[in-house]
Amino acid sequence: MPASSRLLETEAPLCILVDSREISSGSEIISSLKAVHEIKVQVCSLGGCDYIVSNRLVVERKFQSELLNNTNRSKLIQRIQHLQSMFERICVIVEKDRIKAGEALRQLHRTKHYDGMLSAFVRAGIRILFSSCQEETAKLLKDLALVERRKKAAIAVPPEVSSPKQDALRFYLSIPNISHLTALNMCHRFGSVKMMANSSLKDIAAGAQVSQQKAEEIYRYIRYGFDPQMLPENLNTNGKSSTSMAKC
């Protein structure tokens, strides 16, 4: 690789997409990413992803206490499975719970469930990072983004789209198991929706910045033969649909 392009690459600011839900629980992470680490942060609704760090890596932030017992288990499993349907790599950042003012420093009372969850993550190849505060989480996010850039997976498109392209973004987002970033990539890299639909597998993989397997999923979906008979009952017959029938 010529030196000039390497220089260019290091100069482009790192970009991380942050889910709008993190504003309330992770405001210090967002401000630290911006102010301390000089990262381009785009806060938007990411539909269940906390932080999108690269074309293939998503980060789920969890408090230690959420892994200690059964109460959050099924919700957590659902979330991670949802991430797995969209991303090649998943990292869970386990953050120490915040100590409220006046509360004594609590030692983590480690449970079997906690160790069991860690073991399940390890076996499934889900990365785990530990953080003691929001500033540290921000540092970890930046370090992950740096590693991903070295692996040529950094977010390379502008994280926002102009208003005429919003419709196309929504259209791409409705493709099953597509992340916000994949839809963004498609918006920016394909001249039009028609051009995207007519792209070869290879071009989809390159344009959307996805794996061969994900490109195949998209390719198949675009060409999938629709059969109204296969719609679930509630979509095909009366009920809610009768009102929309009247409207059209």
Binding site: D115, I128, S174, Y224, F226, P228, S244, C248
Partner: protein, 215 residues
């Protein structure tokens, strides 16, 4: 030193529910915690590894003293990484004393070496965690929710939803368009005239513009 790099030959063949540990751990609190819940076999010469678990997983233990002492453990972990393709889990004692070194260590182990790092407070916690790891490795893959193959979504309903994202197209029009053209791909390539056979002129033009609009 080079001979020490060799990782136990039969490491991949640790039977389910078993742990093969290094002889140097005999009598330790960690080993006492393991005995009973798992079948523990202690062997000489495990070299860099402290415990072998089923499924080619192994544990490298880094004590508080190792952490504070500095670079020795780094060399050991890097050596392990380059010498074996086992799934290495680094267990580190994270105490009030070693806490300050943890972030740098995590960066090295997870981000540089690509290994797993799990902090424990002491040997008792380590034995509890190893027991859970052994249980996990001994279970059927499908019992792990993150390894389960997810059932495919309702594709037809999704396609209908995708077509409804086109401006001006509601559910009824989406159904009519899909019935006429059969797939999103065909619909994208429809001419205005073809679209007009299904929807009104204005909407037909709107749909056509949506598909062909360039930046």
């Amino acid at each position: 030193m080079a001979a020490g790099v060799s990782v136990r030959a039969g490491a991949a063949g640790v039977p389910y529910g078993h742990v093969v540990g290094s002889e140097k751990w005999r009598g330790s609190r960690l080993v006492r915690g393991l005995q009973g819940p798992v079948r523990l076999i202690l062997e000489e010469d495990l070299a860099l590894v402290d415990f072998h678990l089923p499924h080619g997983t192994c544990v490298l233990y880094v004590s508080e003293a190792d952490v504070v002492a500095g670079n020795g453990f780094r060399r050991r972990l890097a050596q392990f990484r380059s010498a074996s393709n086992l799934n290495g889990i680094v267990m580190v004692e994270r105490t009030t004393t070693s806490d300050q070194y943890f972030p740098a260590m995590q960066n090295f182990v997870v981000l540089e070496l690509g290994m797993t790092l799990l902090p424990v407070a002491n040997q008792e916690e380590a034995s509890q965690l190893i027991i859970q790891l052994v249980h996990e490795q001994s279970k059927d893959r499908t019992s792990n929710p993150f390894l389960r193959k997810q059932c495919s979504q309702l594709t037809h309903a999704s396609i209908l939803r995708t077509v409804q994202q086109i401006p001006g197209v509601g559910k009824t029009k989406a159904l009519l368009l899909l019935q006429r053209f059969g797939s999103i791909h065909q619909l994208c390539n429809a001419s205005v005239q073809e679209l007009e056979q299904v929807v009104g002129q204005t909407v037909a033009q709107q749909i056509y513009a949506f598909f062909t609009q360039t930046n």
